[in-house]
């Protein structure tokens, strides 16, 4: 029996609408559930207090500091590499076999799961280079992990700068590098920052790659060679080892709020970039 096209359309649209609604509901549920359970535990003492008894009581200050520092180290390493790569690909070369290989490498790197980054960071930075579990080992590992994101978004942003800008700069006698520095990069900045923020968001939520490279010490780090614990790792340890459900929820709430804020800022930035482009 054939269903008349009009009815099959109603059926299909209904099913697809339900699927979309379900997806949205799950998102809302995850956020509301975690915030609902976690926010009551969050207060100034929780945010700025030192943990006591392995995090069973007290605050999460070291985890917050770790969550701020680790992505900063990662960005400080990944940004020059990523933006430099993007400038080379977009401004200094044509599509050749070499750029194809470079792009393939970037695409592959983007698909590697975080546990593999963790294994690599552990054997290379922690064990072989004898750096131990520390801020720098974790930062380097995360830098490699977010490099593809930064390269892609930066290259897109650089390519979106109108050619007329470059031509004006060249006609004034500027070299290619002067043009890149003074014309192209300032105009591509919102896009580059978007890529960096995406990288920050990923680093903040990462656990597997961090726990094997930055360790999980619940102290305030004094140097780059001290171990740190991020909020994601802290949450994982509290929840997995059943240390404190209440503090786990509290940490998760702070974590989710931070990530939502980072993503909203990123989205705002992207929006501004798109608006500037269509102007």
């Amino acid at each position: 029996m054939r269903i008349p096209p009009r009815y099959s359309q109603i059926l299909a649209v209904g099913l697809m609408g339900a699927a979309t609604l379900l997806t949205l509901l799950v998102l809302v549920f995850v956020v509301v559930f975690v915030l609902g359970k976690g926010l009551p535990a969050v207060n100034l003492q929780f945010l700025f207090g030192m943990p006591r008894d392995m995090g069973r009581a007290g605050g999460i200050l070291p985890a917050i500091v770790g969550t701020v520092l680790l992505p900063l180290v990662a960005i400080a390493i990944a940004m020059p590499l990523g933006v430099g790569t993007a400038v080379y690909l977009a401004e200094y070369t044509r599509e050749t076999r070499l750029t194809k290989v470079l792009r393939f490498g970037t695409d592959c790197l983007a698909g590697i799961p975080s546990i593999i980054f963790g294994l690599f960071g552990f054997i290379f930075f922690v064990v072989m280079l004898k750096m131990g579990w520390c801020l720098l080992s974790g930062g380097l590992t995360l830098a490699i992990m977010i490099l593809p994101t930064i390269i892609r978004t930066s290259e897109e942003a650089i390519r979106a700068v109108p050619n007329a800008y470059r031509e004006v700069s060249f006609s004034l006698g500027a070299t290619r590098w002067e043009t890149v520095l003074k014309v192209v990069l300032p105009n591509a900045l919102p896009g580059i920052v978007t890529g960096v923020m995406l990288g920050v968001g990923r680093s903040v939520g990462e656990t597997a790659a961090v726990i094997f490279t930055a360790g999980s010490a619940l102290r305030l780090p004094a140097t780059m060679f001290d171990s740190v614990r991020t909020m994601a790792v802290h949450f994982y340890i509290l929840a997995r080892e059943g240390i404190s459900a209440e503090n786990a929820y509290g940490t998760a709430a702070v974590l989710i709020i931070s990530i939502l804020l980072i993503n909203l800022a990123t989205y705002g930035m992207m929006h501004r970039m798109l608006a500037a482009r269509t102007k």
């Binding site: 979309t20 995850v30 790569t85 975080s114 294994l119 994601a232």
Partner: protein, 285 residues
Amino acid sequence: MKMSGEKAVRFGLMLLAFSSLASLLLIAVFILKEGVPFIIHYGVREFLLGLNWQPHKQEYGIYPMIISSLWVTIGAMLIGAPLGIAGAIFLNEFVPRTVMRIIKPTIELLAGIPSVVYGFIGVMVLAPFIRAYMGGPGLSVLAASVILGIMILPTIISISTDAIGAVPNTYREAALSLGATRWQSVYMVTIKAARSGIVASIILAMGRALGETMAVIMVAGNAVRVPHTPLDSVRTLTANIAMEMGQASGMHRQALFATGVILLCVIMLLNGIAISVVRGGVRRK
């Protein structure tokens, strides 16, 4: 003088451009260097098809973990792929642009929620539900599949939406002018034109599901055995690495790296397929 400066800059930038490729090679070399000698020493057959994983008895068979990873990944695809593709089509074809511009970024926020939070929700909400209404330990293939299925939704939706959005409007208009309903034009024309992007989104999502670690450790139960029903507790390849890495040394650590080698190979294969599917799709257009 000025020209030689330019040359130096070009050379410097070219070196930077090798950073991602160099990192990739470095990762591959170090994982392989730690893992491959073990596989050869222990025996490929014994390692891949061995049923027992008992490090204290020097037994390192990962067959149960391979099957478990497979089950969990396929389960996640069964849940995530239909939902994701349906969502992508719905958002592109049946919803006003302004609404889509609000919903799409909202769904992309799903991607930002850390995997440990999904895992925790799985433990606190999903596992008790499964235990109460379906039986078994709760922490199971099913729980892991549902959580992973949700986690890969943003990947599928965002890449598929871009692919469907890139189909020229003239295609749709041609179908509609021949008397097709909107739905007919979607499944007869638009989906076929966007096929390569949709397939790529599914393959990439599969790689993500296979590689996900922390959420799976929390919800899959981690018993080393070949599952018989979706309600069985299982341990995936990734969970095996992450759980034992902390206290492993010597042979045991090498065996974990060898597990990583298998994981890396499968995922590189999936990525390679996804990249070539996208390239092939672009070439046809």
